[in-house]
Symmetry: C2
Subunit: 181 residues, 2 copies
C-alpha cells in the first residue's frame, strides 16, 4: 500500500502545501505532519528548508514539462501542436486547486533573497522556452514566434490565477492562432 519512500512523501507534502499556501506560510512542522516524516529524517534528506523548496520545484518541473509534452504529442499537425499548448493550459486552469505558476509565485516570494530558488525558476522557464522553440521549429516558425507564444502562455497563467477565470487560456489561444497566421 504505502510503498512511497520518505523522500517522496516529504516532496508530496511540500508540493501540496507550498503551492497552496506559499512557502513562508508553511512550517517544517506542517511538512512533518502532512508527510508523516519526522523532522530528524526530513533534515537528513534536505539540509534546510530552502533545499526542500528547490527539490520540490525540480520534481514539479519534470512532471510539468512531461505532462505538457505528452499532451501535445497526441496532436499530429505541427501547427495544431503549438495551439494545443494552450488547450493544456486550460485543463490546468480549471483545476479547482489552481493557484498560478509555482515558479512565478516562488520567484515573487523568494527570488530576491534566495539565489538558489531564483536559479531554479530560471531553469524551469528556460526549459519551457526550449520546448516551445522545438515545437515552433518543427512547424516552420522561428524563435521570435516561440518567444511570443511564451509571453502569451505566461500572461495567461498569471491572469487566470488572479482573476480565477480559465478564459485566459482561450484568449491566449486565439491570440496565438493569429500569430501563427
Amino acid at each position: 500500500m504505502d510503498v512511497q519512500t520518505a523522500e517522496d512523501r516529504a516532496l508530496d507534502a511540500a508540493e501540496d502545501l507550498f503551492y497552496r499556501r506559499g512557502v513562508h506560510a508553511v512550517g517544517m512542522d506542517d511538512i512533518r505532519d502532512t508527510s508523516r516524516v519526522s523532522l530528524k529524517r526530513l533534515y537528513q534528506l534536505f539540509p534546510n528548508k530552502e533545499r526542500l523548496v528547490t527539490a520540490f520545484l525540480q520534481r514539479r518541473d519534470v512532471r510539468w514539462r512531461g505532462g505538457l509534452t505528452d499532451h501535445v504529442a497526441r496532436v499530429e499537425d505541427p501547427r495544431e501542436r503549438l495551439l494545443a499548448v494552450f488547450d493544456w493550459l486550460r485543463t490546468w486552469f480549471v483545476d479547482p486547486d489552481y493557484r498560478g505558476c509555482a515558479w512565478i509565485n516562488c520567484f515573487g516570494e523568494l527570488g530576491a533573497t534566495s539565489p538558489a530558488v531564483a536559479e531554479e525558476v530560471r531553469t524551469h522557464k528556460e526549459g519551457f522556452r526550449r520546448l516551445l522553440r522545438d515545437l515552433s521549429a518543427a512547424a516552420g516558425y522561428d524563435d521570435d514566434l516561440a518567444e511570443q507564444l511564451l509571453i502569451l502562455a505566461e500572461g495567461a497563467i498569471v491572469t487566470a490565477a488572479i482573476t480565477g477565470d480559465p478564459a485566459a487560456a482561450h484568449q491566449a489561444r486565439a491570440a496565438a492562432g493569429k500569430l501563427l497566421g
Copy 2:
C-alpha cells in the same frame, strides 16, 4: 526641505523595501530605520503590517496607472497608442531596480493567506484591464483584443523579471502589432 509627512515617508520606505526584497523579508524595524518614522507612529498610521502592504499597493497603483496613462496620451494615433503601452513597459524593464510586478509578487507571496492583499491585486489588474479596454475601444477594437493585449503585457512583465532581459517588451509589442492587423 523635508516637507514629506510621516505617512509619505513610511509608504516610500514600504514601497522601496517590499518591492525590492519581498514582504516577509522586510521587518517593521526595517521600515522604521528607512523611513525614520518611529514604530509608535507607524502603528498609529497603519494598524498592522498587512494594512501597510495594502496601502503601499494602493498608492503605487495610482502612480503606475498614472504614469502609463500620461505616456500613451502623448501619442496621437489611437492604434499607435495601444502599441505605446509596450514602449512604456520597456522603459520600466530597463530600470536596474526592476523586479517584476509588485502585485504579482505580492499575490504569490500573500494571495493565499491575506484576502485583503488578494483583493488589492485584483483591483489593480481590473484597473489595467479597463485602461486597455478604453484604449482599444477608442481605436475601434473589441474587448477580446484588449484581453489579449492584457495577457501579452502580463506575460512580458513576468518574463522580463525572470530573465532580466527587457527584450520581452519588444517581443510583446511585435505580437501586439500582429494582433492589431
